[in-house]
């Protein structure tokens, strides 16, 4: 896994922790995918407006 992807996965992991209120170490593929899409959306927005 390259560094950029590693950083993205760490952010998704943190979001997953918030989503489960720290009470679950895992989420479904579907939820993980939604969280990753949210992160990518924010990055794109920041790039476009930045």
């Amino acid at each position: 896994m390259d560094e950029q992807m590693d950083a993205l996965v760490k952010i998704v992991g943190k979001l997953a922790g918030k989503y489960t209120a720290g009470e679950s170490t895992s989420v479904t593929y579907e939820k993980a995918e939604q969280l990753m899409e949210a992160v990518l959306y924010c990055i794109r927005e920041a790039e476009e407006t930045g």
């Binding site: 992991g13 679950s24 170490t25 895992s26 479904t28 593929y29 993980a32 995918e33």
Partner: protein
């Protein structure tokens, strides 16, 4: 986007966490070798893929160990294989309960039923008791009622 990122694994860190859990379980005569820990982590990857779940952080196995290390039905001979089966059952029922239980609640329910209803029979735990409990959770029965029932 390629979904390969979902096969998250922290490799070395998880391996050392798992071996470090020996400090608590060895009081009950239970220890994992490096090979045992590697096999458990390999099985973890398989079951997460099967159950279509992504896990972050240190993972569930240390929590399974802390919940089950004092079981009357686990000894050194069956320790590794029991942990592998328990993690399979855990992820299956995270899905079957639609994530309505926290990790801690599900592990506690599993332990109660394993000890006092199934007397250490993992097949009975997975195929009978937890199946019924998951049905009840999906139907809206509160977790506390299930625990009270399993304490009878």
């Amino acid at each position: 986007m390629d979904k390969g990122w979902m096969m998250v694994s922290e490799g070395k860190e998880q391996l050392s966490n798992l071996i470090a859990s020996n400090w608590i379980s060895e009081r009950f005569g239970l220890t994992l070798s490096k090979q045992d820990a590697e096999l458990i982590l390999e099985e973890r990857k398989n079951v997460l893929r099967e159950q279509r779940r992504v896990e972050f952080g240190e993972g569930i196995i240390p929590k399974i160990i802390y919940e089950f290390y004092d079981s009357d039905y686990i000894d050194q001979d069956n320790y590794r294989d029991t942990l592998i089966r328990l993690q399979e059952i855990f992820y299956l029922y995270k899905n079957e309960t639609r994530d309505r239980l926290t990790d801690e609640e599900l592990l506690h329910l599993m332990k109660e039923q394993f000890e006092y209803q199934c007397f250490g029979d993992l097949d009975e735990l997975a195929d009978t008791y937890l199946m019924q409990a998951a049905g009840a959770i999906r139907a809206g029965v509160p977790y506390d009622r299930l625990i009270q029932r399993s304490d009878i």
